[in-house]
Symmetry: C2
Subunit: 197 residues, 2 copies
Amino acid sequence: MTAKPAYTRAEPDARRQSLIAACARVLAREGAAGTSVRAIALEAGVSPGLVGHYFAGIDALVAETYAHVEAQVSAAIDAALDAAGDDPPARLDAFVTASFRAPVASGELLATWIAFWSLVRARADIARQHDRQYAAFRARLEDLLGACGTPEADRRRSAIAITALIDGLWLELCLSPGTFAGGEAQAIARAALRRLT
Amino acid sequence: MTAKPAYTRAEPDARRQSLIAACARVLAREGAAGTSVRAIALEAGVSPGLVGHYFAGIDALVAETYAHVEAQVSAAIDAALDAAGDDPPARLDAFVTASFRAPVASGELLATWIAFWSLVRARADIARQHDRQYAAFRARLEDLLGACGTPEADRRRSAIAITALIDGLWLELCLSPGTFAGGEAQAIARAALRRLT
DNA sequence: TCCCTTGTTGGACGATCGTACAACAAGTGC
DNA sequence: GCACTTGTTGTACGATCGTCCAACAAGGGA
């Protein structure tokens, strides 16, 4: 008779990823206030002590969760760009509207974003991470604008404006889905984009 | 010899306001994570028990703090509108750019906003409060657009787009003031506004 | 002047927080 | 099959959380 193992070891990388995924789920379900080491460990099906073994603290875990979720968003945008083909305006359009479809437009994602934002002002290292990821997003947009013929002198400000438009629409869409639907957000963004470029 | 009073009674309304102001200061200084009943009471110079006497809980206090701060923002915008005179385009311009000057553009305000957002998805009553205040902001903008000649059919979507632009720019400006300054945000918003109307 | 209302205090209470750590066991190399 | 490494467990710890409430006192009315 073989005894049931008390636990199974995981590849360190896989374990980290499962903790990050559990953190994202707890943030989505409970909000920032209900996200604790114990709740995350319970969600991941591991012992509370294991969180401390992989992450310096809960702030570090939230920051890595944000980075991971942002990478998923980036991948979704990549897929949208690939689907758009080679026409520069079509690619720009795909970039802008992708944020208002699943999986990017999601109230669950927003919880991770807000938890991360709440750490930005208090912690310098997390502020740096935010600046880095925001700059990367804007840089991609500037490239797309350049391919559409936007003069280099205008790209920076155009990219800031369009990024702000996307962020603001996405925020409101996730915060109160009743005000307007994802489809309307896409239409609004598309119309604004046409006027801004 | 007159004994020093152990405490002084305050007008109930004044006491509420002082607690709300203290809550805003603690949110700004400590962030959402460090904002507790005790910290707020200490900041306001009162006993911890008094917070429970005036507010149902810390969530209710944060929600009222948000409403109060939003009223201050609204007043600042009113002042900007008054200063702009009677010309409709000038009033619209003042409305849009006011968000990127003191006292609206402030990393301290952002902390209250984020703490409030983190409650929106978890609590239905707070979600209603958010929808109400967002709708009021948009309604004012729609009026200004109407005065500028925007056809009624376009007002709703234009207002949503411009609100998103303001929110996104304001968020990034407060989150990382190093990326661009308030003056540049004003210029970007003004340029985008010209194209969008 | 005295009493009565009630704003205010300050601590008790149980729950939960993040962290630390000694003990255990799964998997690997030999 | 044995020892060694280390991923994992479970709990103990002190701090802090939100809430509650009996006692106190300030201020106003009779």
